[in-house]
């Protein structure tokens, strides 16, 4: 059994600073803290995540660097351990909880900084499927990256996906499924989207433990998301967003 990393052991601790705020200064120190932040997510240490995220913000580090190379990198580590059987559902959920704490600190700052929302995503778990751990993680990560997310919850029939995509003028429709018996609903939803004449406007991305790249291709999805943690990069690719953060092409 792993124990949460003690704060005393985390990188950066011990620096003398004003009013007990240990904010880092200088690039090497910042890098050290960033690494510590990723570790704190893996180790499910909510307190350390809060302190390190705040410290890095105060230290002036780029917000997306804190997000992607600290928080999300930590979640990638947790997800990999889950896949390998070193972590089980409790550890995964606790890492996601720690991630959310850090993202909640960054989110308003990222929103403030960005001139426009990079995209609007309609998200949900498909019909007859009630599993939402991965889907909720996708929501956290997309919102952290500034996306507007319309989360329809679980057991979402194709018609609801399409109506919501239309109503909210979404650019991306993201579907999750944890059961091989419900994956077929992703296909039904994509077909309905096509029939509604929205297939060229709304890009589809599918994911969930039993979903494979072959399956995604066979049902005509625009993208396959293997890990919730990679959803922001996939969304960027689908929207043709360049490194400057502005959409260059929306189908």
């Amino acid at each position: 059994m792993r124990h949460p990393q003690k704060l005393e052991n985390r990188p950066g601790k011990g620096r003398e600073d004003i009013k007990g705020i240990h904010h880092p200064s200088g690039e090497p120190e910042l890098g050290h803290w960033l690494n510590g932040l990723a570790q704190a997510v893996v180790m499910r240490d909510c307190k350390a995540v809060r302190e390190l995220t705040e410290g890095l913000v105060l230290g002036g580090m780029d917000l997306f660097k804190i997000l992607n190379q600290g928080l999300i990198l930590g979640m990638v580590g947790a997800s990999e351990r889950f896949r390998r059987g070193q972590f089980y559902i409790p550890e995964l959920l606790m890492s996601a909880r720690a991630l959310k704490i850090g993202i909640n600190i960054l989110r308003p700052l990222i929103r403030e900084k960005k001139e426009r929302v990079p995209g609007r995503v309609v998200l949900g778990t498909v019909k007859f499927d009630l599993h939402d751990i991965g889907k909720n993680l996708v929501n956290i990560i997309l919102e952290g990256n500034g996306y507007e997310v319309v989360d329809l919850g679980v057991d979402v029939p194709p018609e609801r996906f399409i109506k919501a995509a239309e109503k909210h003028e979404a650019q991306i429709l993201a579907m999750s499924s944890l059961l091989t018996s419900t994956m077929g609903w992703m296909k039904s939803t994509i077909e309905l989207l096509e029939r509604a004449g929205m297939g060229r406007v709304v890009k589809t991305v599918v994911g969930g433990a039993p979903v494979t790249p072959i399956f995604a291709k066979n049902i005509g999805a625009d993208a396959y998301c293997r890990e919730a943690t990679s959803v922001a990069a996939i969304a960027k690719g689908l929207l043709g967003i360049e490194e400057n953060g502005q959409p260059s092409f929306i189908k």
Partner: protein
Amino acid sequence: MGNPQNRKVGHLKRVILACSVMEQEIRQFQNGKAEFKFFDYGLHWTPENMAKALQKEIDQVTEEAYDGIVLGYGLCSNGIVGIRARRHRVIVPRIHDCISLFLGSPESYRDQAVRHPGTYYLTPGWIEKGETPLSKFESYARSYGEETARWVLHEEMKNYTRILLINTGVSHMEPYRNVARRNAEFLNVSFEELEGQSDLFRRLVCGPWDENFLVVERGGSISQEMFLDL
């Protein structure tokens, strides 16, 4: 009648490799023509390990005196994908998971799932060899304390609305009924009990391996597509 090859096959034995949650239901059809091996339920926790463990066993069946290796598994979150038939053909029920076996057919399972998507299924074998929400909670609480365990279990189970206990006819049900009821109370969901059907188990062990089964011939391997109706 006159085909010597058929007569020969009739005398051959088969190997049944199955999940321990269905041991009792399978053993009721023990007929001297099948050899059994049951695997720990824990293989489900990491589906990648399931295929490895089963393949290792399949590879060890090298004698010719068998007419096939039967898997007492469903697709189980792709846990059996990639399994290869070596010296013998591999037979597997064409189902998503074992609930179809306990209920007797994929159609019965679909009916239940459509009417109550939020169902947590229990059987005597699941209670004894698998896990229940309460057993998960107890295990989480030992590792993380009660408060965290409650939060984790809530996150995991919050969308479930019913516990369905399947009476598979091989056990005295009262103790299992009590456990299932306690689980329903713990989750604050409804409790129901349903009679299972043993027919699919019978065909699994004794044949015939009809349209509800996939027969993977020597050299072939199991893929996800074989189980999907797209």
